[in-house]
Symmetry: C2
Subunit: 263 residues, 2 copies
């Protein structure tokens, strides 16, 4: 089963479709077609994947084994509204969309959610990415698991729609919010013309520390030490930026609260 190659239609031509498409052809699956309403994106991705494309949903190729929807969450409903499949498998790749969105399109449906942040320009090394699966039946699960295993050595994790949404929420904290904090750090020092590169080793070490220990146990800094003098000095430095000050206060308060619970 692990080695079976599937014929796939990719619906969508954005970041996820691009990176997933590249990983699928690397694993020797066959992409029959890219379907996207945006002519330039559709053509660009089809060129990358050396496959056909259409911008007319009604011209979707119906001879594939699997249909992968990788469009933004709002568009999923529109994609499936007029799509009726026989026994082919249809999946979406969304962290937040319920599996039920696909229930009227085929008996064999599921969710194939790679837990990663995708940018169109950056090729992603899929080999370590965990894939979260949810399926309408065991047969569909086996097929999706086989495809997942063909593109990653990372974990294949079964999560239902509610669990997946919580994981997606957690990912917003671990990825989107931390990225924003890096942006704030950069803004704070760039006024003095310092280069954000100097934070590289610190940021690396921050994530190394939590590879084996829980982040709460590894917490450092003025808040967890209860070092009010430093916190007040920091707040004073932020006096011209009330937004940053509010974030500083709230996160410090939250760290103090967690550390008390942790004791």
């Amino acid at each position: 089963m692990e080695n079976k190659k599937y014929k796939i239609v990719l619906i969508g031509a954005g970041n996820v479709a691009t990176q997933l498409g590249l990983a699928l052809i690397k694993a020797k699956h066959k992409i029959l077609q890219v379907v996207s309403l945006h002519p330039s994106s559709a053509e660009e991705l089809a060129t990358k994947l050396k496959c056909k494309f259409t911008t007319y949903p009604e011209k979707i190729n119906l001879s594939a084994d699997i249909y992968i929807i990788a469009v933004n969450d709002k568009a999923i409903e529109k994609v499936v509204r007029n799509l009726k499949l026989e026994n082919q498998i249809i999946v979406h790749t969304s962290g937040t969309t319920n599996i039920k969105a696909l229930q009227n399109t085929s008996d064999n449906f599921g969710v194939f959610y790679p837990l990663q942040t995708f940018s169109k320009e950056r090729e992603i090394d899929f080999s370590t990415i965990p894939i979260l699966l949810e399926t309408s039946n065991q047969k569909t699960y086996e097929v999706l698991k086989s495809i997942a295993k063909s593109i990653t050595n990372g974990e294949v994790i079964v999560a239902d729609s509610k669990e997946r949404m919580k994981i997606h929420l957690a990912a917003v904290f671990a990825n989107n919010f931390t990225n924003h904090l890096y942006g704030i750090a950069r803004n704070i020092i760039s006024k003095d013309n310092f280069d954000f590169d100097m934070f590289g080793p610190l940021i690396e070490e921050t994530i190394r520390k939590i590879e084996n220990d829980s982040p709460e146990d590894m917490q450092t800094g003025p808040a967890v030490r209860g070092d009010k003098k430093t916190m007040n000095a920091h707040l004073k430095l932020l006096s011209k930026n009330k937004d940053y000050q509010t974030i500083y206060k709230l996160l410090s308060k939250s760290i103090i609260k967690s550390s008390k619970k942790n004791k």
Copy 2:
């Protein structure tokens, strides 16, 4: 100059003293003595560094070239109150303490601040860490730069006390606060018995993305997309944890605001 080895007294026996001491002996400098009021820490570190120790500040060895104070910020003042040196160099290693704290102890004083997060148990690879320097005169700068270069290939950066404090503040955002967000992410998923390890590749990619581009340009997620439906669904999932909900709202609002400025 680069190859000169110095005789050093280390005042303090905590995380920074430990990691810095290990890096200094690796670079073949000679640690004459560890000075710490805590007998067990002093002895433990002296054993690691194969040097002497004292718990009596008045028994400090006065024949060193350089005195490195690596104690918590509050204790720096106490350390220097009764210490008068001839021409030896004295430095502290604090991000937030003004260089002036040392001005009555010697004419040759400075700050030697490694921009890193230190834990006693984790040996730190000093070879990439940036060192921030501030000195009372050029001669002291040359000596400290030589020592910095002997323990790291990272940048040696000149920053005055005000700049260093802003860099330290930025480090709180880039390190302490991001670590806390990892802790929140872990708490959100651990209730369903999922393993935080699944976020490894996502967290790695988040920091890879900002190696060459600014974090603001690399921002992803529901807030920067203006995806209110997902944000509302996330807030609903957090309805039992008002603290997390408040953090989610504030950081999302801040991301939206930054992205508007960025346009």
